[in-house]
Amino acid sequence: MNMEDLDELLSESLRPKDPSYGFADRVVARLQAERQLRIVPAERRFKVVPIRRSHSAVFGKREWLAAAALLLISISAGVFFYTRERSYAEVAKSEQNSDVRPSMPKTTEQNPDKLQSNPNIAEAGRKPTVRVVSHHRVRVAVARTDAEAERAKDELKLALYIASAKLNTAEDRARSVITPSRETSDDQPVLRPEK
């Protein structure tokens, strides 16, 4: 058998063959069955499928409004607390420099009659006297205890006592200058405490 005959014989024998009737329909039916049963192909079984959502779906108009409102509230709160802290700090500074009291913070005693008329305040002795310090449109209520008030009162009394002593001394010296024959029994000033 020569080569050409063999080639021809092989070509004839190995022709493409038809499958059984309805093969294509069976393939399509199997395809539909697989899709209905949702059989995941082996190569895609462990594949991570990303879930794609639009940005508007994640963060919509309502969420934007809520975020803006929250931001506004937080800014307002921040401004409020910042101005409050600053006014406290200024009041404290002005109290430190009490000798040279600045004219800007205007201090007014609040409800003095009410405090005096209330008998419980005197008995308690620890009730705070309230005063209001106003400065640059900021009004701050400052609490001061009775102990501080007492101390201030004592300091005032001492100052008055010294002042009256100095006044007496000056008066005596003036008298001795006017009437030199007259001798005074004592050179030291007579301290007369004020009532």
Partner: protein
């Protein structure tokens, strides 16, 4: 653009007809879009080639149909990657060949035929003889797996050694040596039958 399609009819010379390429491209595009009817037409168009390759290799009609179905289902899953009709034909050839070889390697199918066990044809061969053709197919089925697939691709698909090498991912020289040895073995068997 025209596409050439071979038509084989029993007892007749092979005919080659030309089909308008847009028709096949349209089928491919519709199948990729999920049209199952178009995919059915596409299967119908190529079932002879795929089933023929599988049948000549495994020599079992049911197993060959099962393999061919698997190939087409795999095609449906990968149809979006197919770019043209020529690409589709090459893809089908390649996948069918590898599926057949994998089937043998996994041990699901083993050829029970051995070339020495196959009875030699006892009569003078005539072209178109059904019995002779069956005997030749038996002889081909008794070849080793790779050599068998090389012979089937060479004579069924009329591929040259370079195309066979690309399809089976093997060196061209290996393809040529498989072809040479297989043809020598087949010719020896057939020649002995002629000498009787």
């Amino acid at each position: 653009m025209l596409s050439r399609i071979r038509i084989y009819e029993r007892g007749r010379q092979e005919r080659v007809i030309q089909v308008a390429e847009p028709l096949l491209t349209d089928l491919l595009a519709r199948s990729a879009a999920g049209d199952q009817a178009a995919f059915g037409d596409l299967v119908h168009e190529h079932q002879r080639m795929v089933f023929g390759l599988a049948y000549h290799f495994v020599h079992d009609r049911d197993l060959a149909e099962e393999l061919a179905q698997d190939v087409f289902l795999s095609l449906y899953r990968n149809i979006k990657s197919i770019e043209s009709e020529a690409h589709l034909v090459n893809w089908l050839r390649k996948v069918t060949s590898h599926r057949c070889l994998d089937q043998v390697r996994r041990g699901k199918f083993r050829s029970h035929l051995n070339i020495d066990d196959v009875q030699e044809p006892f009569h003078v061969p005539r072209m178109g003889d059904v019995i002779l053709e069956k005997k030749v197919r038996n002889l081909v089925a008794s070849l080793p797996e790779k050599a068998r697939m090389v012979v089937i691709l060479r004579y069924q698909e009329d591929l040259d050694p370079l195309e066979i090498a690309e399809t089976l991912d093997m060196p061209v020289n290996t393809v040529k040596s498989h072809l040479r040895r297989s043809i020598e073995a087949l010719r020896g068997k057939l020649s002995r039958s002629l000498e009787r």
